[in-house]
């Protein structure tokens, strides 16, 4: 007998969603058989605004595309403009860029781990994750001047320096953070049976499909695709040394493990970047206007972000196009949802770490 199909709207307002995305779920009884995503609830016209602002003012605008990957958005934009104008960034600034990139990756992953625990109803773990994240936000405030939007990247380098004394203090706080990760957060995610039962074997994305759908970031790496733009060695990743974190299971648990292991990787990369940082200038003077076109790529906490920039030799850019990682991961989400239970939809949606502000700009 053919079962009747029901369409259930999931979102745009839903307790587990920090940002509005709408999924039209087609259900047969409790089983999802089809999904149609609807986006466009939080479009702010940032690409158009970027054409109206001067290319220097745009750095602050790019910072504000998304709160949780703000530094890396600005970094991708600045790298694009620097490529157009032929600017060589001082070595010290490149290492500082790595430090702040990894700091934003850490706080983004911790935010996600907390939200994910909250989506599963694990309130105490959610609070522990966000409590540990406070240490990272304090480091951000101490080094960059703001807790979330660091706003330190600029065309030609970085705006702020980190001296020896501050670097020691950062290392001390990172050790305290690592202690909290070791003691409270990672054992729960790694060993707790309720978490394993909730996500292990759910939302499986095979490697071939991840490659075919163009999945990026932890979603692709959780399926065994070793893709990470940091491998191209932008900023100072070449000098710092870097191996992407890859898990092969392809299920929700593998994606969570990738993010936890990446937090530990960030904790290695940050002190390394600070210790290897050479002395010297942090900012070079940039004269003139951008002309020509370029593509700039960076690795955000959610995956690869691509900026296309076209300048015409004036103070304003002719075109700025941004491809964000969540946009690339939505097809992967649509593949993982059919076949699951309705109760699993919130958790599986969160597993791609959706950042809708980025996606819609």
């Amino acid at each position: 007998m053919k079962m009747a199909r029901t369409v259930i709207p999931f979102g745009p307002q839903h307790p587990v969603l920090p940002e509005p995305i709408h999924l039209k779920l087609e259900l047969e009884d409790e089983k999802v058989v089809g999904v149609t995503p609807v986006i466009g609830y939080i479009h702010r016209g940032i690409e158009k605004a970027a054409e109206l602002n001067s290319f220097r003012q745009n750095v602050s605008l790019m910072d504000r595309i998304c709160g949780i990957c703000s530094f890396i958005h600005a970094l991708t934009y600045c790298q694009g403009i620097e490529a157009l104008m032929g600017v060589e960034v001082p070595p010290r600034a490149r290492f500082l860029r790595v430090f702040w990139s990894e700091l934003s990756r850490t706080h983004s992953h911790l935010l996600w781990l907390g939200l994910f625990a909250d989506a599963m109803g694990f309130e105490s773990l959610f609070m522990q994750c966000w409590r540990a994240r406070e240490i990272i936000l304090d480091i951000s405030e101490m080094t960059a001047g703001h807790r979330i939007i660091q706003s330190t990247c600029t065309i030609g380098g970085v705006k702020r320096d980190i001296d020896k004394e501050m670097s020691n203090e950062v290392n001390r706080r990172l050790l305290a953070f690592k202690g909290m990760m070791d003691k409270t957060i990672s054992p729960v995610f790694l060993h707790d049976p309720t978490i394993k039962r909730r996500i292990a074997g759910k939302g499986v994305l095979p490697k071939e499909q991840a490659e075919l759908l163009g999945a990026v970031g932890p979603v692709a790496r959780g399926s065994g695709v070793s893709i990470d733009i940091r491998q191209t060695g932008y900023a100072a990743y070449k000098e710092v040394g870097f191996e992407p974190v890859v898990e092969t299971a392809g299920d929700g648990y593998a994606r969570t493990l990738v993010r936890i292991r990446e937090v530990y990787q960030c904790l290695e990369l940050m002190p390394e970047a600070l210790s290897m940082m050479p002395d010297g200038e942090i900012l070079v003077r940039v004269d003139g206007y951008p002309e020509g076109e370029t593509v700039s790529r960076c690795e955000q906490p959610r995956g690869e972000v691509i900026y296309y920039l076209r300048g015409n030799g004036t103070n304003n850019l002719e075109r700025l196009k941004i491809r964000t990682p969540t946009f690339a991961n939505i097809p992967a989400l649509l593949v993982t949802l059919p076949g699951c239970e309705l109760a699993d939809v919130p958790v599986l949606t969160l597993l791609i770490d959706p950042c809708i502000s980025c996606t819609e700009r």
Binding site: N53, S60, E141, S151, K159, R160, K183, D192
Partner: protein, 114 residues
């Protein structure tokens, strides 16, 4: 049973102070020295060049040469400190305190003496 390793944490949490602060009954912690807080203009140092207005991403600063006035809107300001770094005569400074909320969103007008 896989949970006994949590018991020491539970036991410690019974006797430690809360992670949150009871604001406003207790003061929040002092911001870090490098915090990008309120913006101040020193009218005696300003030469009305307008660099701050040109660099400001949120257009919170307007400089009028004819009236010799600077209009600064703290409610448009995003505290990026671009103006502080762009100001050559060092007429703009920033302290480490948060900008306070207000009932009315009023811009500040600073007159620059001749």
């Amino acid at each position: 049973m896989e949970m006994p390793w949590m018991f020491p944490t539970i036991w410690i949490n019974l006797f430690t102070r809360p992670a949150t602060r009871r604001y406003p009954f207790k003061d929040i912690r002092e911001p870090f020295a490098e915090y990008k807080g309120r913006i101040y203009f020193d009218s005696n140092k300003c030469d009305l060049c307008g660099d701050c207005a040109r660099i400001c991403p949120s257009r919170a600063i307007e400089v009028s040469l004819t009236n010799r006035q600077i209009t600064y809107d703290p409610f448009k300001c995003i505290y990026c400190s671009n103006c502080v770094q762009a100001c050559l005569p060092r007429a703009i400074s920033q302290d480490k305190h948060y900008a306070k909320p207000a009932a009315a969103k009023e811009a500040e007008t600073i007159s620059v003496p001749v």
